[in-house]
C-alpha cells in the first residue's frame, strides 16, 4: 500500500499508553497500556462489559480517548485519525450496514472511501465475494442477507484496502463452520504477511488456536498480557478457559448457577 503521508515516528504498530475512556460519567477504560508488533495476532479477552469493544473503537478512531496516548501505524489518535484509518481494517461487533445497498455496492463504497484504485477494487471484490460464496447474491440488497452473509461482507470490507492493522471484534459471529475455518486460516496468513491483528472474542478455543498472545481486560483494566504459554506457566493452568476464569474472578460461576436455579424454584 502506498500512502503519501509517513507516520511521525513509530516502533510498534499499535502503541497504547495509559488509555482512559468514559461514556458520560461512566469510566470504562482505566489506564490501559500495551503494544502490538508487526505480524502479531493478539487476542483481546474479557467478560461482557469489560471494555473490549470500546478499546477497539478507540484504536480504530471511532471514539476519542479521554486520556493517555494511542498510536496506530505510527499515527496518533485522534489527532491523525484520518491517516491512521487508512491503515486499519475493522470488523465491528454489531454489523451495521446500509441495508438498501447490494453487497457489491457496499463493498464498492467502502473501497472507494479508502481510495483503492477502481481496477484493483473490482478485482478484489470479485475475488472476495467468490471465496466467501457470495458471488451469486452480490446484487441482492443487504437487508436480504443472513447474519453470516453480512459478516462475510464486513470481513471483505475490512480487507479491501489491504490494511496494515486488522481490528476484529467477534469476526466469526454468525459464520458457518467452513467460513469460520477459512477466516482462521486467513488470519494466520495475514499475520505471515506482516499484518497486525487484534482479535476480540469470547470463544476462547478459537483465540487459543489463532493468537500468539492474549490481552485480558477486566472492568476496564488490563489484568494479563503475555503469550499463551507464559500465561499458562504463570497461572499454572493448562487451558485458556481456566486462565480466564481465574483472572476474571469467574471461578464462582458454579455457585452462581445454583443461585439462579434457587431463584427459579422460589
Amino acid at each position: 500500500m502506498d500512502h503519501q503521508r509517513r507516520p511521525s515516528g513509530h516502533q510498534s504498530t499499535v502503541a497504547v499508553d495509559g488509555l482512559t475512556f468514559s461514556y458520560g460519567s461512566n469510566r470504562v477504560l482505566h489506564g490501559l497500556t500495551f503494544a502490538l508488533g508487526k505480524g502479531e495476532v493478539v487476542g483481546l479477552l474479557g467478560p461482557n462489559g469489560a471494555g473490549k469493544s470500546t478499546t477497539i473503537k478507540v484504536l480504530t478512531g471511532i471514539l476519542a480517548p479521554d486520556g493517555g496516548s494511542v498510536r496506530v501505524a505510527g499515527f496518533s489518535m485522534p489527532g491523525e485519525a484520518v491517516e491512521a484509518k487508512k491503515r486499519i481494517g475493522y470488523v465491528p461487533e454489531a454489523a451495521a450496514l446500509f441495508e438498501s445497498l447490494s453487497g457489491q455496492e457496499f463493498l464498492e463504497l467502502m473501497g472507494r472511501l479508502q481510495e483503492v484504485p477502481e481496477e484493483v477494487l473490482q478485482s478484489r471484490i470479485a475475488r472476495f465475494l467468490e471465496h466467501f460464496d457470495l458471488a451469486g447474491v452480490r446484487l441482492r440488497r443487504l437487508d436480504g442477507y443472513s447474519k453470516g452473509m453480512r459478516q462475510k461482507v464486513l470481513l471483505s470490507a475490512a480487507l479491501l484496502h489491504n490494511p496494515d492493522v486488522l481490528m476484529l471484534d467477534e469476526p466469526l459471529s454468525g459464520l458457518d463452520v467452513n467460513a469460520g475455518l477459512m477466516v482462521r486460516d486467513l488470519i494466520a496468513a495475514l499475520a505471515a504477511e506482516g499484518k497486525t491483528v487484534l482479535y476480540s472474542s469470547h470463544v476462547l478455543d478459537v483465540v487459543e488456536r489463532v493468537c500468539d498472545r492474549a490481552l485480558i481486560i477486566h472492568k476496564g483494566r488490563l489484568i494479563a498480557d503475555g503469550s499463551l504459554e507464559s500465561l499458562k506457566a504463570t497461572t499454572k493452568r493448562g487451558r485458556l478457559e481456566d486462565i480466564f476464569r481465574q483472572l476474571t474472578d469467574a471461578e464462582g460461576t458454579v455457585s452462581g448457577v445454583s443461585e439462579i436455579i434457587e431463584a427459579l424454584r422460589s
Partner: protein, 565 residues
C-alpha cells in the same frame, strides 16, 4: 424534450461542480473532493431507496410534500391575491411560510442525521474528515430546501401573472424575484438550523444531546404558538414597545451611523447571526464521526426506583387483567417517555397542539360554553382528540421495531390483558390527566357546575376518540419501522381533521344552550365510547395475533400455560 433538457442540465452541473475551480474551493475548506462526491452520491442513493426511514429528505416524501403544497399554497395565493395585497405583503407571507415549513422539516431532519445517525455509525471507521462529511450532508439537505421552496412558492410566484393583482407586481420580474428571494430565505434558514445543532453539540453534554435535540425539534412550533399568543395582545405590545425610551448615549451612537439607530441594530443583528452560524457550523465540522459512537452508547441512566406499594401500574394490573396488563401499560409509558422515534414524530406535532390548547383555554377561560358568546373551550375535546390520534398513529413506529420478536414468545392468553393495559395507559395519560388538570382550572374560573359538565362532555368525546384512535395502531405495538412521508401525510390529514372538527364545534356551540342536551350527548358518547372501545380492543388483539403469525395458527406455544380442566 424533457429528457434532453434534464441531460443538458446534468452535464452543465457536472462541468461546473466537478471542474477545477469548485474542486479547489473544496480543498481550500479542508474538504476532500473525491470523498465529498462519493458521500453526496451515497446520501442520494440512500434517500432514493428510503434507507433511513423517518426522515423527510427521501425523494418520495419530498415529492408528496411538493404536490400537497402546490395545492395549498396555490389556494392561499389566490385568496391573498383576491384581497388585493401589495407585492411586498404577498411575498412576505410566502417567505415566512417557507421559513416556517423549512425549519419544521429541517430541524428533525438534521437531528435525525446528527443525533441518531445511521450513516455516521457505519462510516465512523472510514478515513473521512469532519468537514468532508458535513459538506456532503449539507449538500444533501440543500435538496430539501429546493423542494420546499418549489412546493411553497412555485404556484404563488406565478399567480399574480394570471389575473388582476395589487400594487408592485411587475410581470416577468416578479416570479423570478419571488423564487430567488425564497431560495435565499431557504438557505439562510438551512444554515441557521444546522448551526443550531452545532451549538447544541458544543454546549450540551453528549449524554443529554438526544433529549436536547428532541426538545429543539419542538422549537419552531413553540415560537409559532408564542407568536400566536402575542398576536392576541398586539396593540398592548405595540404601545409598550413605543413607550420604551432608549438611553441618550445609544441614540447618539446611532446618529453617527448612516441610516440611524435602526440601521445600526440591523447591522449588529446580521453580524451576530453570521457569527452564530459560522461558529455553529464549525462545531459540527470538528469530529462528528468520532462523536457518533459515544452518542449511541451514552444513553441517560435510569433512576433506580424501589417497588411501590401503590402505583398506576398496580391499579392497571388490578382492573385490566393482571401482570400482562401492567406489562402493556408500563411498556407504553416507558416507550412514550424514552423512544426517540416516537418523541421525534409525536413531540413535533403534539407540542404545538398542547401549547395551542393551553393558550386558547387560558385566553378563553373566562367565557363558559353555556354563555351566549363563543367559548374557546369548545376546542378542548377535539384538540385532545387530535393529540390522541397522533399518539396512536405514532405508537406503532418505535425505535426498536426489530425487538418485535419478544412479543412472539408471549403466551397467547396474555394478549387480551396486554391490549387492555395499553388502552388503560393511553386513557389515563391522554384523557384522564389533562381533563383533571382542566377541571381544576375551569372550576376556579366558572364554578364547579359548568366545569363538571364541560369536562364530563369532553371526557366522553375524547374517550370516543381514543376508541377510534386505537384502530390507528397498526399491528403489533410498537414494532413497525417509520414509513417515509409519514409526517407529510399526517400534516395533510390534520388539516382535513380540523376542517371536520370546525363543523362539530358549530354544533357544540348550539348544543351548549341546554344542559339537558349536553347531558344526553355526554351519556350517548360515554355509552358509545364503551362499546366501541370493547370492539376496538378485540380487533386490536386479533390484529396483534395476525401480525405475529399471519398464517392464523397460534404463535409460539412453548411458553403457553397449560389449559386447566
Amino acid at each position: 424534450m424533457k429528457a434532453f433538457l434534464m441531460k443538458a442540465l446534468r452535464l452543465m452541473g457536472k462541468r461546473l461542480f466537478h471542474g477545477p475551480a469548485f474542486t479547489a474551493l473544496l480543498r481550500r475548506n479542508g474538504i476532500d473532493p473525491r470523498q465529498y462526491w462519493i458521500l453526496v452520491d451515497l446520501f442520494e442513493t440512500l434517500g432514493k431507496r428510503q434507507e433511513v426511514t423517518g426522515m423527510s429528505s427521501d425523494a418520495y416524501s419530498m415529492r408528496t410534500f411538493t404536490i400537497i403544497w402546490f395545492f395549498f399554497s396555490g389556494v392561499l395565493g389566490v385568496v391573498i391575491g383576491a384581497y388585493g395585497a401589495t407585492a411586498g405583503i404577498y411575498l412576505l407571507v410566502f417567505l415566512v411560510l417557507t421559513a416556517f415549513q423549512l425549519s419544521m422539516l429541517l430541524i428533525p431532519e438534521i437531528a435525525e442525521g446528527l443525533v441518531n445517525p445511521v450513516e455516521g455509525l457505519i462510516l465512523a471507521h472510514q478515513p473521512i474528515n469532519g468537514a468532508t462529511w458535513l459538506a456532503a450532508k449539507l449538500t444533501h439537505l440543500t435538496r430539501l430546501v429546493v423542494y420546499v421552496v418549489a412546493g411553497v412558492n412555485g404556484v404563488p410566484a406565478l399567480i399574480p401573472l394570471l389575473g388582476p393583482s395589487g400594487e408592485g407586481f411587475r410581470p416577468l420580474v416578479y416570479p423570478v424575484l419571488h423564487i430567488f428571494a425564497a431560495l435565499g430565505v431557504g438557505l439562510v434558514v438551512g444554515f441557521l438550523c444546522c448551526s443550531l445543532f452545532g451549538w447544541l453539540v458544543r454546549l450540551v453534554p453528549v449524554r443529554r444531546l438526544k433529549a436536547a435535540a428532541a426538545m429543539v425539534q419542538v422549537f419552531p412550533m413553540f415560537i409559532a404558538a408564542c407568536l400566536q399568543l402575542l398576536s392576541l395582545r398586539v396593540d398592548e405590545l405595540w404601545s409598550w414597545g413605543m413607550s420604551i425610551e432608549l438611553p441618550e448615549a445609544w441614540l447618539g451612537i446611532g446618529d453617527r451611523v448612516p441610516g440611524g439607530f435602526p440601521a445600526l441594530v440591523a447591522v449588529m443583528g446580521l453580524a451576530l447571526t453570521t457569527a452564530a452560524v459560522v461558529l455553529g457550523l464549525r462545531a459540527l465540522t470538528v469530529d462528528h464521526l468520532i462523536r457518533v459512537s459515544s452518542l449511541m452508547h451514552s444513553g441517560a441512566t435510569v433512576r433506580k426506583q424501589g417497588p411501590r406499594r401503590w402505583s398506576i401500574g398496580s391499579c392497571v394490573a388490578s382492573f385490566a387483567g393482571g401482570q400482562a396488563a401492567r406489562g402493556g401499560y408500563e411498556y407504553l409509558r416507558l416507550m412514550m417517555m424514552r423512544d426517540w422515534q416516537f418523541w421525534k414524530n409525536m413531540g413535533l406535532n403534539a407540542a404545538y397542539l398542547i401549547v395551542f390548547l393551553v393558550v386558547l383555554l387560558f385566553v378563553g377561560r373566562e367565557v363558559t360554553p353555556f354563555a351566549s358568546e363563543f367559548a374557546f373551550t369548545h376546542f378542548l375535546p377535539h384538540l385532545i382528540g387530535l393529540i390522541i390520534f397522533m399518539g396512536c398513529l405514532y405508537l406503532a413506529y418505535g425505535n426498536d421495531y426489530k425487538a418485535v420478536w419478544s412479543f412472539a414468545i408471549v403466551p397467547d392468553t396474555a394478549f387480551r390483558p396486554y391490549v387492555r393495559g395499553i388502552h388503560a395507559g393511553l386513557w389515563f395519560l391522554l384523557v384522564a390527566l389533562p381533563h383533571a388538570f382542566w377541571l381544576l382550572v375551569l372550576a376556579w374560573s366558572w364554578g364547579v357546575r359548568d366545569a363538571l359538565w364541560v369536562i364530563a362532555f369532553s371526557t366522553a368525546v375524547t374517550s370516543l376518540y381514543l376508541a377510534v384512535g386505537l384502530r390507528l395502531i397498526d399491528g403489533l405495538p410498537f414494532g413497525k419501522q417509520t414509513p417515509p412521508a409519514r409526517q407529510v401525510v399526517t400534516a395533510a390529514m390534520t388539516m382535513i381533521y380540523l376542517l371536520v372538527v370546525s363543523g362539530a364545534i358549530g354544533i357544540q356551540y348550539l348544543m351548549f344552550r341546554s344542559v339537558v342536551a349536553v347531558a344526553a350527548v355526554t351519556i350517548m358518547a360515554s355509552v358509545g365510547a364503551y362499546y366501541l372501545t370493547m370492539a376496538t380492543l378485540a380487533d386490536f388483539e386479533s390484529r396483534i395475533r395476525q401480525n405475529l403469525n399471519p398464517s392464523g395458527t397460534r404463535p409460539f406455544l412453548a411458553f403457553d400455560q397449560p389449559k386447566t380442566e
